[in-house]
C-alpha cells in the first residue's frame, strides 16, 4: 500500500485541472508555480468534495464570481453575460469539484488507497474561511486564465 506522503499530489491535481479546462471548457489554463499564502478577495465560490476510506480528506476549488461566470459560460457554450443566475455557476463549480475529486480518487484507488467520494457542496460569500483539521498532507495549486486566478487545495488526513 502507498503512503500518502509519497504521493505527488500537486502533479495529480495539476493534471486534473488541465484536463477539465481543456476538455470541458476548451480553455487553456496556466498552472502557477510556488507556494501560496494569498487568498481571493470579494465574492467567491468554493466547491468541495470529500473522500473517505483508507485515506481521508477533501478537495476544494475556489474562484471569484467573475471567474466562475467565465468557467460556466465555457462549459455551457455561451457568453459570460448570458449566465444569468448564480445557481448555474454553483452547479458548474460543483461539477468541476466532482470531476477533479473523481480523478484524484481514481489515482488513490489505483495506488492501493481505496476511498469513496461525497457529492459536491458549495460555499459562497465574501467573508468566510474554511478550515481543515488534522491533515498530514496539503497542497495548494494556483491556476490562471485571462487574468483570473483560482485555487485548488487538497487536504489529506491519514492512512487508517
Amino acid at each position: 500500500m502507498s503512503e500518502i506522503g509519497t504521493l505527488d499530489l500537486k502533479k495529480l491535481i495539476g493534471n486534473a485541472v488541465d484536463e477539465v479546462f481543456e476538455t470541458m471548457l476548451s480553455m487553456e489554463v496556466e498552472l502557477l508555480k510556488g507556494d501560496f499564502d494569498i487568498s481571493l478577495n470579494g465574492d467567491r465560490i468554493v466547491g468541495s468534495v470529500s473522500f473517505a476510506g483508507k485515506v481521508m480528506g477533501s478537495i476544494r476549488i475556489e474562484v471569484n464570481t467573475d471567474f466562475g461566470r467565465l468557467i460556466t459560460a465555457g462549459m455551457l457554450g455561451m457568453e459570460p453575460e448570458e449566465v444569468e443566475g448564480t445557481e448555474e455557476i454553483y452547479d458548474v463549480i460543483g461539477e468541476m469539484s466532482n470531476m477533479i475529486g473523481g480523478d484524484l480518487k481514481s489515482r488513490l484507488c489505483d495506488s492501493g488507497l481505496p476511498c469513496e467520494l461525497s457529492i459536491p457542496s458549495i460555499t459562497s460569500g465574501k467573508d468566510f474561511t474554511i478550515e481543515a483539521k488534522d491533515w498530514v498532507k496539503h497542497e495548494k495549486l494556483g491556476f490562471r486564465h485571462q487574468g483570473h486566478i483560482g485555487f485548488l487545495e487538497v487536504f489529506m488526513k491519514r492512512d487508517v
Binding site: 484536463e19 477539465v20 476538455t23 470541458m24 460556466t72 462549459m75 455551457l76 457554450g77 455561451m78 457568453e79 453575460e81 448570458e82 444569468e84 445557481e87 448555474e88 452547479d91 458548474v92 460543483g94 461539477e95 466532482n98 470531476m99 475529486g101 473523481g102 480523478d103 480518487k105 481514481s106 489515482r107 484507488c109 489505483d110 481505496p114 467520494l117 457529492i119
Partner: protein, 247 residues
C-alpha cells in the same frame, strides 16, 4: 420515430451538455435528477438509451443500474454510464454490472455520441423538423389567439431562438387573418434586456400588420414592464382568460 434518450444526472450542467450533444439527432431527450426519478421515468416511457451518472443524491447511478437490471422489462435498455472515476476498480465494477459503455468525465459531447452510435441508431434530425419542434414549443394557439409562451429561463439564446421564428409566425398569422396575439410571460420570473428588446421588436412588427398584442404576466412582472417607456403602453392581464375577454 424519434429515439427516446433519458439523461440522469444531478448536475443541470451535465444534463445540458448531454442534451446539446444529442440535439442534431432525431431524439427526444428527457431528464431526471437522480436514480429515483430516472427509474420512474424509465418504467413509464421505456427509453431507448439511458445516459446515467454515478454520483447523485437520493439514489446513485449504481443503485439505479442494479434496479434496472433486476427489472424484466427494463433490463435490456442500453445504459451508458458517466463517471468522474477512471480507476480500474470502478471501471471493472460498472462493466460487470452490465453497462453497455461508459464515458469518463471530463468528456466532450462528441465522445458521448460516438459511444451512443455504437449502441443505438442515431439519425440526423431533418432541418425542417428541428425548426418546427423549436417553434411549436413557443407558439401554441388558443382558438383565434396566437400565443407566445416565454419559458422561465428567458436568456439570450432562448430569445434569439424565438426571434428566429417571429417573422414566419407573423406571416402565418397575416395569411390566415389572425389578429390577436398574447405574449405569455406567466413562467417568467423577471424582465431582462433581451426580453424587453424582443417585446419592442414585436410591437413594431405587429403595428405594421395590424395585429393586436396583449401580455399575460404576474403582477410584479407587469409592474416592471410599466417602468419601461417602450412597453408601458401594452395592455397586461393576469391570465389568458382575462386577455381573451379583453380582446
Amino acid at each position: 420515430m424519434p429515439l427516446k434518450v433519458l439523461t440522469v444526472d444531478d448536475s443541470k450542467t451535465i444534463r445540458m451538455i448531454v442534451k446539446k450533444a444529442f440535439k442534431p439527432f432525431d431524439c427526444l431527450i428527457s431528464e431526471a435528477e437522480n436514480g429515483v426519478e430516472g427509474l420512474a421515468f424509465a418504467a413509464k416511457e421505456k427509453p431507448d438509451l439511458i445516459v446515467l451518472d454515478i454520483t447523485m443524491p437520493v439514489m446513485n447511478g449504481i443503485e439505479m443500474l442494479t434496479k434496472l437490471k433486476e427489472d424484466p422489462v427494463l433490463k435490456e435498455v442500453p445504459v451508458i454510464m458517466l463517471t468522474a472515476e477512471s480507476g480500474k476498480d470502478n471501471v471493472l465494477k460498472i462493466v460487470k454490472m452490465g453497462v453497455n459503455d461508459y464515458v469518463v468525465k471530463p468528456f466532450k459531447g462528441e465522445q458521448l455520441i460516438e459511444r451512443a452510435k455504437a449502441i443505438v441508431s442515431l439519425e440526423p434530425k431533418k432541418e425542417e423538423s428541428r425548426v418546427n419542434d423549436s417553434a411549436k414549443q413557443y407558439f401554441p394557439k388558443d382558438g383565434d389567439i396566437q400565443r407566445l409562451v416565454i419559458p422561465g429561463k428567458a436568456d439570450r439564446p432562448v430569445i434569439a431562438d424565438i426571434e428566429g421564428h417571429l417573422d414566419p409566425k407573423i406571416k402565418e398569422m397575416a395569411d390566415s387573418g389572425m389578429q390577436k396575439f398574447v405574449l405569455d410571460l406567466s413562467q417568467v420570473g423577471g424582465i431582462n434586456v433581451s426580453l424587453v428588446k424582443l417585446i419592442i421588436t414585436m410591437k413594431e412588427k405587429f403595428q405594421k400588420q395590424d395585429i393586436r398584442m396583449r401580455i399575460v404576466a404576474p403582477s410584479d412582472v407587469g409592474k416592471e414592464l410599466k417602468e419601461f417607456q417602450e412597453t408601458s403602453e401594452i395592455a397586461v392581464d393576469e391570465s389568458i382568460e382575462q386577455a381573451s375577454q379583453a380582446f
